[in-house]
Structure formats: C-alpha cells, structure tokens
C-alpha cells in the first residue's frame, strides 16, 4: 500500500466515522398555531 492510499484511507475513515459520532441538533420547531395564524385569509368584503 503506497502513501497516497494510506492517506486516502485515513481521510475516508475520518469522514465516515464523523457521521456516526457527530451529534445532531434539530432546529426548534415553531408552533403550528402560529403558522396557521399567518395563513388566515383576510376578509376584504364590505
């Protein structure tokens, strides 16, 4: 195995291992009621 291959294996291992160990923080969810208020149609009839 030449030096380039060794480096490639190390790089791949770092990336693949990263997905396993990295924590994931979900974006805070906006309450559904707020969204529905924004979507309420405004009446323009007289």
């Amino acid at each position: 195995m030449d030096a380039t291959t060794v480096l490639a294996v190390i790089c791949s291992a770092i990336v693949f291992a990263g997905w396993v160990v990295l924590p994931h923080s979900a974006t805070p969810i906006v309450k559904a009621s707020v969204l529905s208020e924004e979507r309420t149609p405004v009446s323009v009839s007289a």
Partner: protein, 408 residues
C-alpha cells in the same frame, strides 16, 4: 495528421458540456442572492457566454494559443481565426480539427470571468461589469492561459502541470474575486442584516449541472477519447463526492447540522480542486484531494467571514483556495502511471514538481491580483463600479435591467 472521428466527437461533446456550466453557474449563484438580484446575477453568466464567445474568435484565442512571443503571450497571427482551420494542430491536439480545440478552449475562457461575478453580486453596475469582463479576459485570462497551456509558455516550459485549469481558471478567477470584493466594498447592510439565499433549490440544481458539465471540462481536456479521459472522468467524480461528504461533515461538526447548501458548495470545491490534477492522479489521490478541498475551502469561508470581506458568493474561498490546493496537490500526487507524458509528484519520488507547482500558483496569484486591481481602477475612472445606494436597495433586477425575476 489524420483526424480521429471518436476524438473529435468527444471534444465537441465536451465543449457543449462545458458550455452548459456557465448558465449552470448562473443558477448556482442566482439561488444564493436575494430575490431582487437573481435576474442580474444570472445575466452576468449569460452575458459573458455571449461576450467572450465573440472576443475569443476575434483575438482571445490568438493571444492565448497563438504563436509564442517571449514565452509570455500568443501573437496576433491567429486573429479572427486566421490560420485556425480544420487541419489538426500538433502542439495542442493532433487528432481533431484545430477549430474543435479552439471552441473547446472557448468555453473555458467563457466561464472564468463568469466565476468572478459572484464576488461583486448585488452591487456592481452592469456597464462596468461589461467593460471589466472584456478587459479581464484579454489582459488577465489570455496571458495566464498562454503561460500554462500555450506552446512556448514559460510555465509550460518550466514543467508546471495543470490539466484542466486549476491555475488558469480557478486561481485566476478566485483571486480576482477577492480583489474585486475589496475594491468594490461591502454591500449595504453587510454584517448588520442577514442576507439569506432566496432559492436554495436553484443553487443545488446549479451545482448538479456544474458537476455534469465538469466531466467535459476535465475528461474533455484529454482531447482524445481514451483511457486518460476515462481516468479524468473517474477521479473527477470521486474527488467531487469526497469533497461534498467532507464539507457536510465539517459543517455538521461546526454548525451541528448537515447543510444542504454546504453539500452543494463542497461538491463545487471538489470539482475545482481536482481540475488541475484530473489527468495526473489516481483515484486514491482524488480522495485525498477531495478531502482537502472540503476542509480548506470551508476554513477559507470562516476566515473570509472573520475579516469581514464581502466576497458575496465565496468565489475566493471555493475557487481561489480550491484551485490553489488542487494545483499544489498535483505536485504531490501526480503519477506517470496515469499519464506517461507528464511527471511524478512528491509522493512518487519527484519533490521538484512541488516547486514547479508553487511557481505556477505564485505567478497566477500575482498576475490575477495585480491585473484585476489595475483594470478595476481604470474602469472606475470612466464608469462607476457600483450602483447608487437607492439602486442597490431597489435591487439590480429592476435598477439595471428593468425586469423583475418573479411576477408572483
């Protein structure tokens, strides 16, 4: 010299693939700007496709690839495609018509100034952009292309390797982008209000089309349909994928979430970095190059943000740094097992190749930076580079082109 129909078909198809990259770039950039500037951003790429297509046949190809003058520039003997016919040119591509090679190279000359447009997006006056692009293509791109690829060019003679344009295309455009961002100054509200991409889907689609077109860019640079083109195709795909994976991992670590736009930017960084190396490295080298592109280009964006430079769409970070890494990595991982007409790199017993690569990197950085600065200052004497404040607030689609992008 006998024309090979397979080689000719491949190079013409590659020219069409590379042509597609410029409008694809327009969509990649267009999604990243605010909706009031999307049309003007796409127009930069579309307009340059037209402008440089004409410049190239009139005098650009002659300056870049014409008979050598002092190892610095091509002569004017091929102006207006004079002496550029259908007989192959042995110096550049001995199995295809000379005009096929010319039109393939035209598409490289087209996309390079279009790349710079990402740096001054959302604030440059269109007229200034037109004049700048024409001068830049003539006085920055054409000389560097001659140094590196032209028969007799000094970097070519030195032994610097650049298969498809790491120095000629990406360092030149990336460094010029940084200079342009510094000369034009920041957008109104930069750093005070958040500038969100208006359509991330457009950007991802643009990145995918760039990836598709890049097969012509790199594999087409073999100027023959054979094993070298196949190798360039494979390493291009591998490095791109690896860079996208790496960027996602780094951004996940940094920002706690895997970014979709980050994946797209990472793919482009990988495409950039493998470009100079694509005809010289094997697939293991491509993995390392892709990994480096993901890490270094991401770090360059963090640095750019920290020093508050408004390179609006990170052209310097992706193309300048990605191109520099790719050019250097070519000196590390090149092997004659892939391309017997080239040279080995450091990892294959030839440390001198790194020095040649550094010379090409340094010369490209210096000429691009100096040339861009001078051209911008000259253009600014005749046409202000920036739009007025009220025009910038209104948006360039309306203020420069009189058309909205969306009638919703």
């Amino acid at each position: 010299m006998k024309i090979d129909s397979g080689d000719t078909a491949w190079v013409l198809a590659s020219a069409a693939l590379v042509m597609l990259m410029t409008p694809a770039l327009g969509f990649f950039y267009g999604g990243l700007v605010r909706r009031k500037n999307v049309l003007s951003t796409i127009m930069h790429s579309f307009f340059i496709l037209c402008l440089i297509s004409v410049q190239w046949v009139l005098w650009g190809y002659s300056l870049a690839f014409g008979p050598d003058k002092f190892h610095l520039i091509g002569g004017l003997e091929w102006i207006g495609l004079n002496n550029v016919g259908f007989t192959p040119n042995a110096d550049y591509a001995p199995t295809i018509p000379h005009q096929a090679y010319m039109v393939f190279q035209m598409m490289f000359a087209v996309i390079t100034p279009a790349l710079i447009s990402g740096a001054f997006a959302e604030r440059q006056r269109f007229k200034a952009f037109v004049i700048f692009s024409l001068l830049w293509a003539t006085f920055v791109y054409d000389p560097i292309a001659h140094w590196v690829w032209g028969a007799g060019g000094w970097l070519h003679n030195l032994g610097a390797l650049d298969f498809a344009g790491g120095t000629v295309v990406h360092i030149s455009s990336g460094v010029s982008a940084l200079v342009a961002a510094l000369v034009l100054g920041r957008r109104l509200g930069f750093g005070k209000e958040k500038v969100e991409p208006h359509d991330a889907t457009m950007t991802v689609l643009g990145a995918c089309l760039l990836w598709f077109g890049w097969f012509g860019f790199n594999a087409g640079s073999a100027v023959a349909a054979g094993s070298l083109a196949t190798s360039a195709f494979v390493v291009t795909n591998t490095a791109t994928a690896m860079a996208a994976l790496t960027w996602m991992t780094v951004s996940w670590y940094h920002k706690r979430q895997p970014s979709v736009l980050g994946a797209a930017a990472g793919a482009v960084a990988g495409l950039v970095a493998i470009t100079p190396a694509s005809g010289f490295v094997n697939v293991m080298g491509a993995i390392v190059i892709g990994f480096g592109a993901g890490v270094f280009c991401y770090m360059a964006i963090q640095l750019r943000e920290r020093i508050h430079v408004d390179d609006a769409l990170d052209v310097w970070a992706v193309h300048g740094i990605g191109g520099t890494w790719g050019a250097l990595a070519t000196g590390l991982f090149a092997t004659v097992a892939i391309n017997s007409t080239a040279a080995n790199g450091l990892f294959y017993g030839n440390p001198k190749q790194v020095l040649f690569q550094l010379a090409a990197i340094g010369a490209s950085w210096a000429w691009a930076a100096g040339g861009t600065f001078v051209i911008l200052k000259i253009v600014n004497i005749f046409v202000p580079l920036r739009v007025q404040e009220d025009e910038e607030l209104l948006g360039l689609d309306i203020s420069q082109h009189g058309e909205p992008a969306y009638a919703l």
